[in-house]
């Protein structure tokens, strides 16, 4: 069980309620594919990932970025039960998608950078701490069912 303070709960809720999913999802995923190019191994069927411009213009990457970000909604709405909520998704990533769980942290870091860029000064150190704690719990839960 993860202990959340009132500040952390309020911060997570605020960030996600104000977030433009259409913008942040694609930005985070495409940044991940550019900054950590080995992550492209999971997207062989996505067409042109040849360079940074192609990745950022790729509609399949954009669509998948939104899917991934909306996947976080369940965790935002069930912060006291993230491990259970993501059990099925964890099995999916392990058994079907065969994603190395180290990659979850890479995407989480890119999401942090994108949110920092959108929020500017509002992304204070305390807000960052809450956001990174939330993502760490998500990342841990997604890796939980690997064996």
């Amino acid at each position: 069980m993860v202990a959340w303070t009132e500040f952390e709960r309020a911060t997570i809720e605020s960030i996600f309620s104000k977030m433009d999913y259409e913008d942040v999802g694609p930005a985070a995923l495409s940044r991940c594919l550019v900054v950590y190019p080995w992550t492209q191994r999971y997207f062989a069927k996505f067409g042109n990932l040849y360079n940074a411009e192609a990745i950022q213009a790729n509609p399949m990457v954009a669509a998948h970025g939104k899917t991934v970000l909306h996947g976080l909604d369940r965790a935002v709405k069930n912060m006291d039960n993230i491990k259970a909520i993501y059990a099925e998704l964890s099995v999916l990533h392990s058994e079907k998608l065969h994603v190395d769980p180290d990659n979850f942290k890479l995407l989480a870091d890119c999401l942090t950078i994108v949110v920092a860029a959108r929020m500017g000064k509002d992304f204070t150190a305390d807000v960052q701490a809450a956001f990174q704690k939330f993502l760490a719990v998500v990342v841990s839960s997604l890796g939980r069912q690997y064996h």
Partner: protein, 143 residues
């Protein structure tokens, strides 16, 4: 993952862009390191005020960014250029090199916050590579 000609060009240009706000970047990066990764406070037990934006934190953030600017000047041979700083960190400060990853992450966050338009994915990857090489050069003298 060594630095290409393109990486070096991007890095020199970006650090030129941020140079006027280098102290701000350093202050943000160090503040976040101390708040988001509280175990790093153990290296600053001799400071009274570790709050984000305190005078000491601001000044020290500036010192760190000066070191990084120096590394940009020495980008073609980081090991040689950072020899003295590596000896300082290895024998005097004895900071566990795992912490270099932490402050590097927070430097990237500070860049994203303060220069959202300039810190594109292409710039991000080159800067990330550079900071990793920097950390490696800084760890040279440890053992």
């Amino acid at each position: 993952m060594s630095l290409s000609v393109k990486d070096k060009k991007i890095i020199k240009a970006f650090f030129g862009t941020i140079s006027s706000k280098a102290e701000d970047v350093g202050k943000e990066a160090l503040s976040r390191t101390l708040v988001v990764y509280p175990q790093t406070k153990t290296y600053f037990s001799h400071w009274k005020d570790l709050s984000p934006g305190s005078d000491k934190v601001r000044k020290h953030g500036g010192v760190i960014m000066e070191g990084i600017a120096n590394a940009v000047e020495n980008i073609d041979d980081l090991s040689a250029g950072l020899l003295t700083l590596s000896e300082l960190h290895a024998f005097m400060l004895r900071i566990d090199p795992a912490n270099f990853k932490i402050i590097n992450h927070n430097i990237l966050v500070a860049f994203a916050m303060l220069f959202p338009g300039d810190f594109t994915p292409e710039v991000h990857v080159s800067v990330d590579k550079f900071l990793s090489q920097l950390a490696l050069a800084l760890s040279e003298k440890y053992r």
